[in-house]
Symmetry: D4
Subunit: 253 residues, 8 copies
Amino acid sequence: MKISEIEEIIRRHSAGEMNAAEAARKIKDLSFEDIGYARVDHARAYRQGFPEVIFGEGKTSQQICGIFEKLLARGPNVLITRTNENVYGDIRNIYTDAEWHESARVIRVIRDKTELGVGEITVVTAGTSDIPVAEEAALTTEAMGNRVKRVWDAGVAGIHRILSERELLQNSRVVIVVAGMEGALPSVVGGLVAVPVIAVPTSVGYGASFGGVAALLGMLNSCASNVTVVNIDNGFGAGFVASLINRKMMVDG
Amino acid sequence: MKISEIEEIIRRHSAGEMNAAEAARKIKDLSFEDIGYARVDHARAYRQGFPEVIFGEGKTSQQICGIFEKLLARGPNVLITRTNENVYGDIRNIYTDAEWHESARVIRVIRDKTELGVGEITVVTAGTSDIPVAEEAALTTEAMGNRVKRVWDAGVAGIHRILSERELLQNSRVVIVVAGMEGALPSVVGGLVAVPVIAVPTSVGYGASFGGVAALLGMLNSCASNVTVVNIDNGFGAGFVASLINRKMMVDG
Amino acid sequence: MKISEIEEIIRRHSAGEMNAAEAARKIKDLSFEDIGYARVDHARAYRQGFPEVIFGEGKTSQQICGIFEKLLARGPNVLITRTNENVYGDIRNIYTDAEWHESARVIRVIRDKTELGVGEITVVTAGTSDIPVAEEAALTTEAMGNRVKRVWDAGVAGIHRILSERELLQNSRVVIVVAGMEGALPSVVGGLVAVPVIAVPTSVGYGASFGGVAALLGMLNSCASNVTVVNIDNGFGAGFVASLINRKMMVDG
Amino acid sequence: MKISEIEEIIRRHSAGEMNAAEAARKIKDLSFEDIGYARVDHARAYRQGFPEVIFGEGKTSQQICGIFEKLLARGPNVLITRTNENVYGDIRNIYTDAEWHESARVIRVIRDKTELGVGEITVVTAGTSDIPVAEEAALTTEAMGNRVKRVWDAGVAGIHRILSERELLQNSRVVIVVAGMEGALPSVVGGLVAVPVIAVPTSVGYGASFGGVAALLGMLNSCASNVTVVNIDNGFGAGFVASLINRKMMVDG
Amino acid sequence: MKISEIEEIIRRHSAGEMNAAEAARKIKDLSFEDIGYARVDHARAYRQGFPEVIFGEGKTSQQICGIFEKLLARGPNVLITRTNENVYGDIRNIYTDAEWHESARVIRVIRDKTELGVGEITVVTAGTSDIPVAEEAALTTEAMGNRVKRVWDAGVAGIHRILSERELLQNSRVVIVVAGMEGALPSVVGGLVAVPVIAVPTSVGYGASFGGVAALLGMLNSCASNVTVVNIDNGFGAGFVASLINRKMMVDG
Amino acid sequence: MKISEIEEIIRRHSAGEMNAAEAARKIKDLSFEDIGYARVDHARAYRQGFPEVIFGEGKTSQQICGIFEKLLARGPNVLITRTNENVYGDIRNIYTDAEWHESARVIRVIRDKTELGVGEITVVTAGTSDIPVAEEAALTTEAMGNRVKRVWDAGVAGIHRILSERELLQNSRVVIVVAGMEGALPSVVGGLVAVPVIAVPTSVGYGASFGGVAALLGMLNSCASNVTVVNIDNGFGAGFVASLINRKMMVDG
Amino acid sequence: MKISEIEEIIRRHSAGEMNAAEAARKIKDLSFEDIGYARVDHARAYRQGFPEVIFGEGKTSQQICGIFEKLLARGPNVLITRTNENVYGDIRNIYTDAEWHESARVIRVIRDKTELGVGEITVVTAGTSDIPVAEEAALTTEAMGNRVKRVWDAGVAGIHRILSERELLQNSRVVIVVAGMEGALPSVVGGLVAVPVIAVPTSVGYGASFGGVAALLGMLNSCASNVTVVNIDNGFGAGFVASLINRKMMVDG
Amino acid sequence: MKISEIEEIIRRHSAGEMNAAEAARKIKDLSFEDIGYARVDHARAYRQGFPEVIFGEGKTSQQICGIFEKLLARGPNVLITRTNENVYGDIRNIYTDAEWHESARVIRVIRDKTELGVGEITVVTAGTSDIPVAEEAALTTEAMGNRVKRVWDAGVAGIHRILSERELLQNSRVVIVVAGMEGALPSVVGGLVAVPVIAVPTSVGYGASFGGVAALLGMLNSCASNVTVVNIDNGFGAGFVASLINRKMMVDG
């Protein structure tokens, strides 16, 4: 909800064009729509710079399609995460050019490709099995107007693999590091670069990895000071924050 | 270690001025000094944009003073975290204008106050007891060349307290939110702004707060997508990353 | 078992109408019936103001139907929780007007709609996926004679969504808040109202939400003093306690 | 902040007596006072029916006395929890009739003894070592205008001890049960009464009690449906909620 | 392996009937048979008073039948735990009179019903869903020559249900108490009787019961001193120990 | 409370010698005395075969002495656990012949040495640091009329140390095994004997022993079926149960 | 990557046969091949003495076959772990003599059987269900050129079973001990031998074994000083390290 | 206990020089001495290649000195770990040349410096605060006859620090890596070398390091296959195993 819209409503109220109750309801309507089982937050795009993303898990294809149509009508780019190929079939009936990203389980519509970032975002994985989460991050940053570099399978037990990408890393504005098992890669990357590193623990591993807890703890205790952490497997969140960091100017600027 | 310095060494080796072994040792010396119990990482300022900070916990005053003198000789600003007033007494004998920040337990020298950030950084606490950790964050960002705004005691159980600062928050380039107990404040702040929010769980609380674990989990599971998390009580780390996000241009630019 | 019933038995024993052993057995029979695999607690309705509810999980349809028939004979309203549509088919053969509530997985018979509460109970959810647990709570309170208001999808990352319901909340006698992920909503609601808030953590979330533990810890550590907590996903328990709080007068009054 | 006060400000603004900016600031001032290290929430008494209580842990005697004087000026009853006898010495210099409760570590001023509850609140402990937490609960409820009954040392391993108080329990409007070790007492009490039971786990125990976690889990998993739980050792919270449940009428009534 | 058998071997060696190597091997053969994937411990019956029981989980029907035949040849009573009805079909082909206990998932052969105990063993459950584990305990004690009493569904939220069995409990030589959820029943029973109580936590429960951990912790922290605990769902272990406690005389007597 | 005492009261009531209210109070008085901060459970000796033991932790010397005098008046043997030498000084002023056991931190009075057990109880420790807990167990069993054998420092890493005591173990009626670190000894002992083994985990260990949790888990998961477990460091509980197992005849016999 | 290969490249660069950029790329190519979704680490065989093993879990048969063919071309012996019989079908189409090990779920090619070890490696299990993990360890050590002895089902509850193998154990150069439940066997074996013992916890067990955590903690807290631990169920890792310990000479020797 | 000694005893028994009971006792005496509070395991030196080390924690100076004198009499080298300077004062009265190692808190006597290893052992730390644990490891390996190299403060956030020691590492027979915080260094070292790596987590760290648990989990989940792990802070254990790996020949060889 933009301040100018609110000011307009207040002005009309002061001008006697509507009473206080009407004004209050109108202001409220600006910010979200109550559609029974959800309060669609139309103000979020203004507040956060990107419309709501559809988290597909636990929603029926019908529900996803309903929300998709509404979001499609309001903004050029739409993201559906944690979904599946069946939903994609239904989505294509609505919008033919929607993309299906198998490994990340993401459906994406990109109609506006304006570059909004000041630099590049690099996404790194420790192993091959971390790629799905990393792709979710990469696809998100692209949808938010960023150039992305991908470095897959560069875990610390073969340290030369990440060292060979040192220059690429040092030229990035943000680095996202996705790792399971011991979660050591963010510390190594953090020591190599002078920019923020966003660490994403994955649930990859077995035995005492406890579904990503070992990696999560490793990352929280990183000896590199430029590392922050998001939830286990939360590729979307990492991509979202990286995009905010890389954004050319602030919304209110 | 700057690339130009290495190139110079390689050039002299090619010119026959030194053999391969000598060249290798010289390159290695550029990056760190082995002083027995520590490998002082002189390259870190280059790599990360700020010299090593002295983590005071578990070091004797004598050790801290030794490292302090070396760092003081190499850069204008120095930070000593998790220290105490006795150490401050010794430090003042070395450098009279060092500052002592009681609540944050930080000693600080700021000789270069050039502003390096594109915008302001705001530091928020949920309660009064979170202030020490928040001050550590604020003092760090200042020492790294940023303007900082402080908002203390604005926890969610009195939601109007944070809402009254909405404008200040929305004009920030980064927001650091420091909270113990249930760690709910970052989610609320995250929903209000379009910039990265760095959440710092504190060990404040009792009973089932488990020394900050409840707050940590709350922050990792935040329903706001622009929140990343650092370790419990790690005010320094939050301030460090916030400074990197706010930095005007990249090191290699 | 009512004290008057016991007094009657004792009186008859004193009058020589039955011996001590008979009296003891009769008193015991008042309180529960031993039907082999269960001791049906007929005294509970007296002691707690509502007959036993059938917890459907792990019971066969046949067992549920058996208990249902007995309870139906003793009281007007019956609740079956954590059940499924197949059981509903069988139940309808017994009592045609039984209701099936899909999302909450509850079967309900309401024949007595006398209002027993002094005020209204409001049930709030943070997200759409918390609705099943919230519905279990709401359906329970209705079956126990209360008027209920529902506020769905009002999580803290869009704080205006809950603020817009402030008046409704402040006019309630009890508020039930159902939330997964970081479990922050009860603290915000707790700060807005002057009545008891019952927090229900849900197992909604992923990664480090640990099946509701993050939300549970957040709620236990709430900085609002009027919040108490029930077990993860225990919508029934929350609805039950809310009804006891809202009850017009005490049983023994 | 009362609605009438806000309406008055708005009225004066409409009457041209102050501009919008002034009106906004005045409304904000109604709700809290920013005194640097704390935002004193004057609106809480209105919103929650009791002024802020001073949580003494981690505050200096000077800080506590400062806040105490302010609260004393605004309301008749004041509570300081988790404090010590030295602070009491300083408090008595301010207000001679303040009470010192050794076992609960509570300082209390009660100048208004109007009874506000519809019935009695009973506080029960499982063991002798649970008494300090139980006293904190009992003293809180008294300060909030309730009659309180105390039942100490009635743990389940001598079940006749709690059964002998059955009548007392059944005549209460709320029961607070305080227990450490296995935390079993709330389930037994919950089965005996038809009113809400608030369970308070204590950190009493050893070995695998894990500082109250065993008791907390026991209470959360109670097989009695009328039990809700507060944080470990949180006697104040239990007393606060019990008072809200027992309150004669609602604030807005 | 009986001492007399070893003495015989040593005697024959001393008599020159076999050399040391032969004697050593023979002694070793007395104690176990190495059949490749298992070392069948024939000495256990001697050492522990009951032959090895077949733990069915993770074994094929063929493997179970193989072991069953061997054990059947050596002793009158055989127990197969954690098995299923298909295995029972195969077992019946070997021994027609084998019993199938559906709820406990136990196959049992009892050919020797000699009573070996000094008193009775009582098995109690808190709820109906605890019965399978309790039956495993009861069937074990019967197979080991004990008289057993069963008390089902006597949880603490309806305390009169267990109190009505007080006499039965007090006449037992051992009591096994099986409970999930908060695991409170063993403490109550422990306070009623003067004999050992063996507590068996079950994985029954939901939310924060954590698969039986809540019950386990409750039992370990029991305020009754006569309670010991076995692993979650370990009905067999409880029955085994109860039988050893109740045994008329010691093996070596 | 003996049944004969209750029958006498009932008889007198029937004879008109006292009214129902008087009878009820008298029956209640038989079972415990309410002395304000504690309900002294005089019925426990009858119910459990041993008077209440004084758990010294968290009690003042004065409180302990008060309770000691009362217990001394009622029974020949008294035990004070988890106490210190200062308390012993005060206790000796009351009863000169009280014993002080330094390592177990136990004060003991034994005036009745009648042997009540059918056999011997053996107490074993894995290491030297487990002795204090083991002594608490041994002193308890002696005070309850048992003969005790002690085997110290026989941990599994030197397996011959426990094997050399095989005969002693096999002649015991019960074995108590006390171990910290990995808690493996009870499994080995359990495999050697045909009697109940009570395992006591101790908080001895470091690193990932987590204050006894590693030992506790090891014991709960013992592959020997005759092992039950008590709480960490709970030597008294182990001794108490061992005595009940070894008891010659039942109370009600 | 062998040092001689790098020296050759550098020599050619010095000789002017290739420029610095070419030399750098060539050196990098020596160490790994970037094939998009993986960086195949050809240098690992040199660095660690064995080529990369294919961890089958989460890979398609097609992916496994692709990697298998490449590895087969570079070295004589190849191992595929955590795979299944379907993959084996596909692998046999590539290499007919590949072995399928059902219980360990391992596919193996051994073309070079040169013995590389100084002594024998013994693999021991506590129970029958630990055999799959133990076989994974044994098959690995064989593939790496070692002689292996297997001792199955020798858990501590029948201590004579492991004692009877004492001589075998004491003649080994390394012992791998695989155990679930309480994980006690490594401590016993550790006490019997003078060589390194590698402990492998398995997820075998139930209730409070927590998927191998109990065994893991037991092994980490072993009272035998010669025990080190690998991750739960990590038979491959144990076999790999055991082979390195047993290796006749060092790579660089 | 050497086999030859036992054979001699058996031979004398066969020769009629002593009866069976005498023979048994003599064999038992060979292996350990029961000195009341401890069973001194004289056979361990034979079985494990090094006499028992004195673990100083929780022992009085007097006890330590007593054991020290006995061990000093039996072998040339003695180690006392986790002790303090006061004990050292007492030990010097017994043996003047004992060494005191402040940072490791170790007292050491080395009279036999024969080199027993095939190669060198390298001990590495991630940070300065890990040195005490690393020194315990290094001093142990020296006392067991090994040459040791120390590399301090080479954590992964400055990856060039460990890379500069690559050659040293690759020439070692075993590497011990000591690290707190995220415990990432063993994985990096493991990838660089072809020998066993023993990882020692330390309790260094704060917040979510949980006293070394984060480092422990990181090491157990290492993506390098040549890493095994010992308990938190267990420098002695790591040094002990490293010595066994490096040992020139086996005891029984």
